[in-house]
């Protein structure tokens, strides 16, 4: 173990790490939204041809 590690409070909250993890979550959220967008678009195309109604209940 390098000496400086002994002076880092393990409870200090992993600041930089949170920025990276929150970034990863943001990317995941972005792709999730895109996926949802495609899903919705597909549903509208499908309903246009089949004439079915979205169930909002």
């Amino acid at each position: 173990m390098t000496p400086h590690l002994l002076y880092i409070d393990p409870g200090s909250g992993s600041y930089l790490i949170q920025v990276i993890i929150a970034g990863a979550l943001g990317i995941a959220f972005f792709f999730k939204n895109i996926g949802r967008l495609f899903k919705n678009a597909w549903w509208y195309v499908k309903s246009f041809f089949t004439g079915s109604q979205k169930n909002n209940s």
């Binding site: 590690l5 880092i8 409870g11 600041y15 930089l16 790490i17 949170q18 920025v19 993890i21 929150a22």
Partner: protein, 468 residues
């Protein structure tokens, strides 16, 4: 002669914002001057009222004077007292999960009031009226949206790690928390989790990636607080919410699927001897009516709490202990479902009850130090300790004496089929295990007030009172 300065209780020393102390048998919390702004904001923003209304936080009264005589005083609070202090290593999986969800809820909801939770330790959660409640009023400080969640790592180590380990291993691992009271280090959790846990996106992020980044980036944590490289500028409320939501979603998805234990079918099997259970119940009800002063009770070896409910129905605050995780988890679920308020289920190996741990070995008290009930129940338990664990009857009596003033104890003789079943697996070295020796051993500590054989079962119930 100078006024005697009151000292904080042994577990209250980590946070300079204030401390808890006891005076004339009443518990108080001092808020220090250093925390004035944060505390005032917590109250004036309406966050405190909101949390208390939701029953997420213990309510308090404000006392206007300095009771400790210490410098740096700002306010004194008199919090509502929790009936019995418990620790995370005594909780079943579902209790730890609910405590984790409460902690996340407090962190997320607080931001609506410009407040953030600065501590995410399970020791700040206790149980009151069948529900988890947060007890540390000084854990809430002003929220700055550019700063990440200071308690993130603590949450991952002290809640997420044990929950994930139990979820994936299907084993009750509460005892790990005795050794790692401040949370299981991420490196330990990572090495113990199965490889397939990496396929869970949130587990990968909060444990595997978190640990890998932590071990790589420690040197970067040395940057000054305001340096862009410290990471303290790159955060926002939206990011915090995403982080908390992902943790909440992960915790919600975790379940304990432990394999069935010998105790799972205990009452199904016992129900086949309905007459025996009815007789036992009848005697108990009669004896309980003769103990009207009883307010607190402990049911040792409670299994799924059939008799704990009998005590609770008489308005007794009942601690129900068992060493079988599956039984205690089922009991907790039943308590939640039936909105039962008087029963506190606890995981406890009576042959090795919770030790005192922490600084000076008095930061977290032992089970015996915390337990002083009016009534104890030990039904169909003594043979498990005496024959199952080789504990002499006198030692069992000496242990019970420390827990309650009255006891209702069931003695099961050696001829009983259940004892014979135990003895079929081991050599019978228990010549001392007799009804007479049981009475002699217990009379060293207790006065036998009543004694009655249960129907034609051959089993005997005793009502005892501790010598004054």
């Amino acid at each position: 002669m100078p006024q005697q300065i009151i000292q904080p209780i042994a577990s209250s020393f980590r946070d300079p914002s204030g401390f808890v102390f006891e005076k004339d048998g009443t518990l108080y919390r001092q808020v220090n001057d250093i925390f004035k702004q944060d505390f005032d904001h917590f109250i004036s923003s309406g966050c405190y009222d909101h949390f208390v209304e939701k029953q997420w936080l213990i309510p308090h009264e404000e006392i206007t004077h300095n009771l400790t005589g210490r410098a740096g005083w700002y306010k004194t609070l008199k919090p509502q007292r929790v009936p019995f202090i418990t620790y995370p290593y005594e909780w079943c999986f579902d209790m730890l999960k609910d405590a984790a969800l409460l902690t996340l809820e407090l962190a997320r909801e607080g931001t609506r009031f410009g407040v953030i939770l600065k501590d995410a330790t399970p020791f700040n959660v206790q149980w009151s009226q069948g529900k988890p409640v947060f007890i540390d009023t000084l854990s809430f400080e002003k929220y700055h949206a550019t700063k990440p969640w200071i308690a993130y790592r603590q949450f991952c180590e002290s809640f997420l790690s044990p929950l994930l380990l139990m979820h994936y291993s299907h084993q009750p691992l509460q005892s790990l928390l005795v050794s790692y009271a401040e949370g299981i280090p991420l490196s330990v959790t990572k090495s113990l989790l199965p490889w397939r846990s990496k396929f869970s996106f949130y587990t990968y992020l909060h444990i595997h990636m978190h640990e890998r980044l932590a071990s790589k980036s420690r040197s970067k944590e040395r940057y000054p607080e305001n340096s862009p490289l410290s990471g303290r500028q790159g955060f926002s409320e939206k990011k915090l919410h995403r982080l908390l939501d992902s943790l909440q979603s992960l915790v919600h998805s975790l379940e304990f699927k432990g394999s069935s234990t010998a105790w799972d079918q205990y009452y199904d099997e016992a129900n086949q001897r309905k007459d025996y259970l009815l007789q036992k119940r009848k005697i108990m009800i009669e004896w309980l009516s003769e103990l009207p002063e009883t307010v607190t009770a402990i049911d040792l070896g409670a299994n799924e709490g059939t008799f704990s409910f009998l005590l609770s129905a008489r308005n007794m605050a009942t601690i129900a202990t068992d060493s079988d995780h599956s039984s205690i988890n089922k009991l907790y679920r039943k308590i939640k479902q039936e909105k039962e308020k008087n029963i506190l289920p606890l995981l406890m190996d009576l042959a090795n009850p919770t030790p005192a741990i922490g600084l000076n070995n008095d930061e977290r008290n032992s089970f015996i130090e915390r337990t002083n009930c009016d009534l104890g129940l030990a039904l169909a338990l003594v043979h498990h300790l005496a024959i199952g664990k080789n504990i002499p009857l006198e030692k069992i009596a000496g242990f019970f004496e420390k827990l309650a003033n009255h006891f209702i104890i069931e003695f099961i003789p050696k001829q009983d089929e259940k004892v014979q079943l135990m003895l079929s697996q081991k050599k019978d070295i228990y010549s001392d295990y007799t009804n007479d020796n049981f009475e002699v051993a217990f009379q060293k500590y207790f006065l036998i007030k009543k004694k009655q054989v249960i129907g034609n079962s051959g089993r005997t119930l005793y009502l005892m009172r501790k010598y004054a």
